[in-house]
């Protein structure tokens, strides 16, 4: 398959939200045809330029997906499926970024705070961030402040995303930020919070750097903090 064809197919499959060959396209077709994972593997085997795969394949596709979302042709599940496909591609491309001279966009640690098992929002943010090219480490849920601090120390992320669904657990976001302060790591990481009971005001009151009312806003906040 020619280089252009593979890149074009990667783009098309991201738009269709197909991670692997077993996945269906939007209209239920394409099952058995290579998905983004198989296509990126093939592109790497053929030594295609990683920059082309990312810029002409993944990024161009996500731009189109974003336009379709704006035009109400696509809905959130479509965006997430495409982001998931990009996330799968980036995982395969990650080991090749350095030798291609591509600087990773940034690393994000995500966690649902102590006492809270609700992680749908955090999981959606994980998919969206990976789809946008961030390296994401998902620490899971019910995370003690000290465990999060330890992970920040080891992983050295640029961003920490904290999530909570309950009014009784959101206070643990503040405790986690406090623990970061006490460990001397607070200035190394930007802290973004999200979840149903929290707000912009609450984020400010506990000393967080940003607040995302939903997954898309969380991504937008991180993108804006990345560029500053």
């Amino acid at each position: 398959m020619a280089k252009k064809d593979i890149i074009g197919l990667i783009r098309e499959n991201v738009i269709q939200g197909r991670v692997v060959q077993d996945d269906e396209s939007l209209d239920g077709g394409m099952v058995g045809e290579p998905g983004v994972t198989e296509l990126v593997e093939e592109a790497l085997a053929k030594r295609l330029d990683v920059r082309d795969i990312i810029n002409k394949g993944l990024t161009e596709a996500m731009t189109l997906v974003g336009q379709k979302f704006e035009n109400k042709e696509y809905y959130i599940p479509d965006m997430l499926a495409s982001a998931e496909a990009v996330g799968a591609a980036m995982k395969l491309l990650e080991p090749h970024l350095a030798q291609s001279g591509i600087k990773p966009k940034g690393k994000v640690l995500l966690a649902t705070v102590k006492g809270d098992l609700h992680d749908i929002g955090k999981n959606i943010v994980t998919i969206l961030l990976r789809g946008a090219g961030y390296t994401v480490k998902d620490l899971g849920n019910n995370m003690e402040p000290q465990s999060i601090v330890n992970a920040v120390r080891v992983e050295k992320p640029q961003f920490l995303g904290l999530s909570a669904l309950l009014t009784s657990t959101m206070v643990n976001m503040g405790d986690t930020i406090q623990a970061l302060e006490e460990s001397g790591l607070r200035d190394n990481v930007k802290v973004i919070i999200g979840g149903a009971p929290v707000s912009e005001e609450y984020a400010k009151s506990i000393g967080a750097d940003g607040y995302g009312s939903d997954g898309f806003q969380a991504l937008a906040v991180i993108e804006s903090l990345t560029s500053t």
């Binding site: 939200g17 959130i76 499926a81 999981n123 959606i124 994980t126």
Partner: protein
């Protein structure tokens, strides 16, 4: 292919089968004792010639007869009345096939109100802060015109859930008279919708003109019989138990022509019928059976709908309380009676006591729409746009009602729970549980596009603002701007040439239009 309507898989039953039989027996008893008073000489003669006991009422202000209808006549009529009734349409795909033993519901408009409710959205400025503005809907009632009837037929043509059109308003233009009302209301309706058109008849003298107009549109006398694009509503029995002269005479003529007809009765519990459920049910059922019996005696096999518009009286005004819970109970009971006789039922829901669109209107109409639909009447009328105890029609409300019926139709779809469906989702469960995010979101997409997921409420505002009326108004205007398929120019010319009394301004092909 005719319209699908919505098939109710497990119709709600309010009364037991034994209670249905008890009402049936009580109604038969009422038809003999006390029987009915009949103000139509023709009807009295028909009953008498078929063995009913008929005697002139002495000392009455108007000539009238006392009629006792024996059970045998009623049972023969129930036997000969068709169990399947077709209501045709200009577009054959909009035909309605109603089977008395199949609870397939069709949603229909209604029902000749005198008042049309206009709406506009004036802007108000906040007293405390002149930069704060708000648009508030205002409703303005006025006498309805033939132009309003055209507009409502036009919008109803485009309302997806609406299966058939009953003229919504009573046309009261200055140039509309008793002699030309029928032809104009039928033409205005037929010319603006390709769905079935049903109406009452104002003047018996106009029946032949109306039927001839329908024949011209359908393609001749036989074609109209095959595809009855019009049908008639007749309230020939006025509660309690009186055959009125003019409607009964019109009913007899309609039956002679073999066109579909609704035998409707509208007793009011508390005033023209007993306040108790058992009483109003025994009476309304007797009244409808009396009408069906007469119609079948006139012309065996005339297609008929068992028409029921029972209501409870409002305690404060003694007007019809369509919004009362009891009204829905009576209507469901009537659905069950019609099902017992295996006759298609013309039932009622969606009318509210509220005078304008709003929360009360939504609550009252949605309540009756849901519960009456669940019982499975074949022809559910009054369901769009009616307010103020059936005195007012509002086109904006009809558009809002369409959204209600979208939800209701969706709710009543057939559950898809079967082995292939379960096998497919079991595969999904295994796949998702094995992923780190454990989300099923990717599987939404195909289902969403297949139409299996309800769309959001179409008039949802942004954030905390409630823009329901403004968005529905916008939708109403979009539908008005969308063209409808009028009757073709040649047929229109034939109609205007042959049918007297039509208003020239209704001819869309006339120069200057």
């Amino acid at each position: 292919m005719p319209r699908e309507g919505i098939l109710i898989s497990n119709p709600y039953k309010r009364i037991t089968d034994e209670q249905v039989r008890q009402i049936h027996r009580a109604s038969l008893q009422i038809l003999v004792d006390p029987g009915l008073i009949c103000f139509s000489k023709k009807a009295a003669e028909i009953f008498q010639s078929h063995g009913a006991e008929v005697s002139a009422v002495a000392d009455a202000d108007h000539p009238c007869w006392h009629i006792k209808i024996p059970e045998k006549l009623v049972m023969e009529a129930l036997d000969s009345a068709p169990k399947t009734v077709k209501l045709g349409a200009r577009n054959p795909d909009n035909a309605l096939i109603m089977k008395g033993d199949e609870p397939r519901v069709f949603f229909i408009s209604g029902s000749e109100t005198n008042i049309w409710l206009d709406v506009d959205f004036p802007t108000y400025v906040r007293k405390s802060d002149s930069s704060g503005e708000i648009q508030v809907p205002e409703f303005h009632p006025r006498r309805a015109t033939v132009a309003d009837l055209c507009q409502s037929a036009h919008v109803c043509e485009h309302l997806e859930t609406l299966d058939g059109y009953i003229r919504t308003v009573n046309i009261q233009d200055e140039d509309i008279t008793g002699d030309n009302k029928d032809v104009n209301k039928f033409f205005a309706s037929l010319n603006n919708t390709t769905k079935h058109v049903m109406s009452g008849l104002t003047s018996l003298e106009q029946l032949d003109n109306v039927v001839r107009m329908a024949e011209l549109i359908a393609g001749g006398e036989e074609a109209l019989k095959e595809n009855p694009i019009i049908s008639f509503i007749t309230c020939l029995v006025k509660s309690p138990l009186q055959f009125v002269e003019d409607t009964t005479d019109a009913f007899i003529e309609i039956c002679q022509r073999g066109l579909p007809v609704v035998v409707s009765s509208s007793p009011q519990a508390g005033t023209t019928a007993p306040i108790k459920e058992a009483g109003i049910m025994a009476q309304i059922n007797a009244e409808v059976l009396a009408g069906i019996t007469l119609g079948q005696l006139v012309n065996k096999g005339t297609p008929m709908l068992y028409g029921s518009v029972p209501v409870r009286a409002r305690m404060d005004t003694l007007s019809d309380s369509y919004g009362s819970v009891e009204t829905s109970q009576y209507n469901i009971d009537c659905v069950q009676m019609a099902q017992f006789y295996k006759l298609p039922n013309y039932s009622t829901s969606g009318v509210c006591d509220a005078k304008i669109p709003g929360q009360q209107a939504s609550i009252e109409r949605l309540f009756s729409d849901i519960v009456v639909t669940l019982s499975g009447p074949q022809f559910l009328h009054c369901a769009y746009g009616l307010l103020d105890c059936n005195a007012v029609f509002c086109l904006l409300q009809a558009v809002l009602d369409d959204a209600h019926f979208q939800m209701l139709k969706f709710f009543l779809n057939t559950p898809k729970i079967n082995q292939p469906e379960l096998a497919e989702t079991m595969k999904q469960i295994k796949e998702v549980v094995a992923t780190p995010q454990k989300l099923y979101i990717r599987y939404i997409r195909q289902v969403m596009r297949s139409g299996e997921i309800t769309p959001p409420y179409p008039f949802e505002g942004d954030g905390e603002s409630d823009n329901v009326f403004a968005l529905a108004y916008q939708r109403m205007n979009e539908l008005l701007a969308k063209p409808v398929e009028h009757i073709d120019p040649e047929t229109t010319a034939d109609i205007f040439r042959e049918i007297p009394g039509l208003l020239p301004r209704l001819n869309v092909y006339k120069e200057g239009k």
